[in-house]
Symmetry: C2
Subunit: 337 residues, 2 copies
DNA sequence: TCGTTTCTTGGGAACGCTCCCAATTTCGGG
DNA sequence: CCCGAAATTGGGAGCGTTCCCAAGAAACGA
């Protein structure tokens, strides 16, 4: 059963002084006699006093809290980013409220409402694969609560974005595939609507172009990131008269699934099909052969997102230019391609 | 820049009525004329009114929020539990605040302070491997804020616990190993202080005893869950004059690491060393051979923990008996053992 | 010694909301 | 048409803080 909360008035009464003085002592305000301060601090400690943040926030209108909304928790990617973001935020005296949307648009909307209700000072968000209506984010604009996008961004809202050079990363991956002698390189991409997917595809095409490999739209397939469907697409590739000899996948789980399926067919990776993923998830060193993949700088993404957000929160400049930070990726060559 | 927040007074003034009426309309109180209510709701919508939860909570002294503190985010285990807990909590009208402690005692203490500061109505917690001082949890007792432990529990605090039948799970795993003809079954456990580890070890011993396999303490090693150290312990096992032919590991990441190392030595799993893990992490179907492991009922754990917590929050009974819910595990036999 | 500056303290408004109580309006039955 | 009950509304206290302002105490130079 919840007990009566100890308030500064309780302390003031017990000490026979005013709540103002208690408040001052508790907030390290200079204008308190040293002796008084000590008595107050001591009693507060003894009574297990805990400042009621609601009343504080009610006055301050700032919660020293930022929110982070991520689309899913299945890959290690987002949890890892959260860990980094949390560290950085704490460093600056901010708490982090976490929510995950289960790749579901409605849940994302609900999550942003929670953030609003919790009166976060700002929000980091990475969109679900379904999100293509942004009204729930416009609320933040209207209320003047800063947002920073990361990873899954959106162009329709003017807010800073932290992304990775997907184009370059894909380019490097495909170029590597070419350098190992692969001639027919396919690409299994995610939902066409996602910017990440668009950019990786563009990098893929560019690498082919630069190396004078004719573009073949048939070699590019899009899917909804539901791993169970990978088999369908892989079978399609294998059923082509001129089969691909390499496959650049939109992310690591997809690549890993592909490797499993290829091996189940009795074929070899990378000899029969070279496979490259994207992100360097933890699982990528577990598959056999170990996955060649494009590493994303997790730590930097998390930290940068928080930094940009706090920048916005702290400064009061109105005509603020939304910047996009593009972080470098790194090709990690292992055994799958 | 943060804009002025729209308040019920703004609405009241614009409509020439009192804030009381506005408040009533906005909280679905019956005593408001239908017409008035409509005007208010309409204007509120138009002005993008958002109820200030601080003032509400300040009055209510309840936040409709529960916290969850987990030791880490590296395995898929905790993120998955969070997803389930969040669903269940939302179902009951509660928000979930998430924090992860990085397997670090100080961070855990800080996290619980955050929960206190956010005035959560209750907290779910799974302890770090380092935690053996529980003062930060006693605060919750003193303040009458309910706690529910899950997975990594603690006996020193009287609070409901949701755990899995580790003993049974381990027993089944080892028994299976024996049934496949393994004679010298080793166990690589985690920190001796963790109850989970104790129980799994007990199940391991019991399975051996029941099958008349002499107990050999040398076959049991404890480590700090830092995967880089797995190699040391595995080498130790291999250096024994009478090498083990099977290894029951404390969790899946450990088992997977073992499999990798065994294969790197040119040995075969399960022929040279059968390996079994615990938890059925996502990665367990990625390793080769696929990992035999003891599945934990993630969904049930998350849901049960929330249920027990809300039970406590809602009821006002003082002399409440702390119950421990033990969920069943399930041995999933794959190829590693 | 006194006036003036500097410390230290207390009082009270304010934050945005809910909720109790009293005032006002509406309405139906006699 | 009047009266009491029911419906609707307004006023104001209070939730636990912070912060401004003023008052009182102490200190200090002349």
């Amino acid at each position: 059963m919840k007990k009566h909360q100890v308030t500064i008035i309780d302390i003031a009464n017990k000490l026979g002084i005013s709540k103002s003085t208690v408040s001052r002592a508790l907030t390290d305000h200079p204008n308190v006699h040293q002796q008084t301060r000590e008595r107050i601090l001591e009693l507060a400690d003894e009574l297990d006093y805990q400042r009621n943040m609601f009343s504080v926030n009610l006055i301050r209108k700032s919660t020293q809290t930022i929110g982070i909304v991520v689309p899913e928790f299945h890959r290690s990617f987002f949890p890892q980013i959260i860990v980094e973001a949390q560290k950085k935020a704490k460093e600056q005296g901010y708490n982090l409220i976490i929510a995950q949307s289960d790749e579901n648009y409605e849940t994302e909307v609900a999550n942003t409402k929670v953030m609003l209700a919790q009166q976060v000072d700002g929000m980091l968000i990475s969109l679900t694969k379904e999100t293509n209506n942004f009204d729930h984010l416009r609320q933040f604009e209207r209320k003047g609560i800063p947002i920073v996008f990361f990873n899954r961004v959106c162009d329709q809202i003017a807010a800073p974005k932290v992304i990775v050079d997907d184009y370059e990363g894909a380019y490097a991956a495909v170029e590597h595939l070419i350098s190992t002698g692969k001639k027919r390189i396919a690409h299994l991409s995610g939902p066409e609507t996602l910017t990440v997917c668009k950019n990786r595809k563009a990098g893929y095409f560019e690498a082919l172009r630069k190396n004078n490999i004719p573009k073949d739209e048939d070699l590019v397939l899009h899917y909804d990131l539901n791993l169970r469907k990978v088999e369908i697409y892989l079978n399609h590739f294998f059923s082509m008269e001129s089969k691909p000899d390499a496959l650049f996948c939109i992310n690591d789980p997809t690549a890993i699934e592909v490797i499993k399926l290829v091996k189940a067919k009795g074929l070899r990776v990378p000899e029969d099909l070279a496979v490259i993923g994207f992100s360097n998830d933890m699982a990528s060193t577990i598959v056999e052969p170990q996955l060649t993949t494009v590493e994303q700088p997790i730590k930097e993404i998390g930290e940068m997102a928080v930094t940009l957000l706090l920048d916005q929160i702290k400064r009061d400049i109105k005509d603020w230019k939304a910047q996009t930070v593009i972080l470098k990726t790194k090709l990690i060559i292992r055994d799958s391609g």
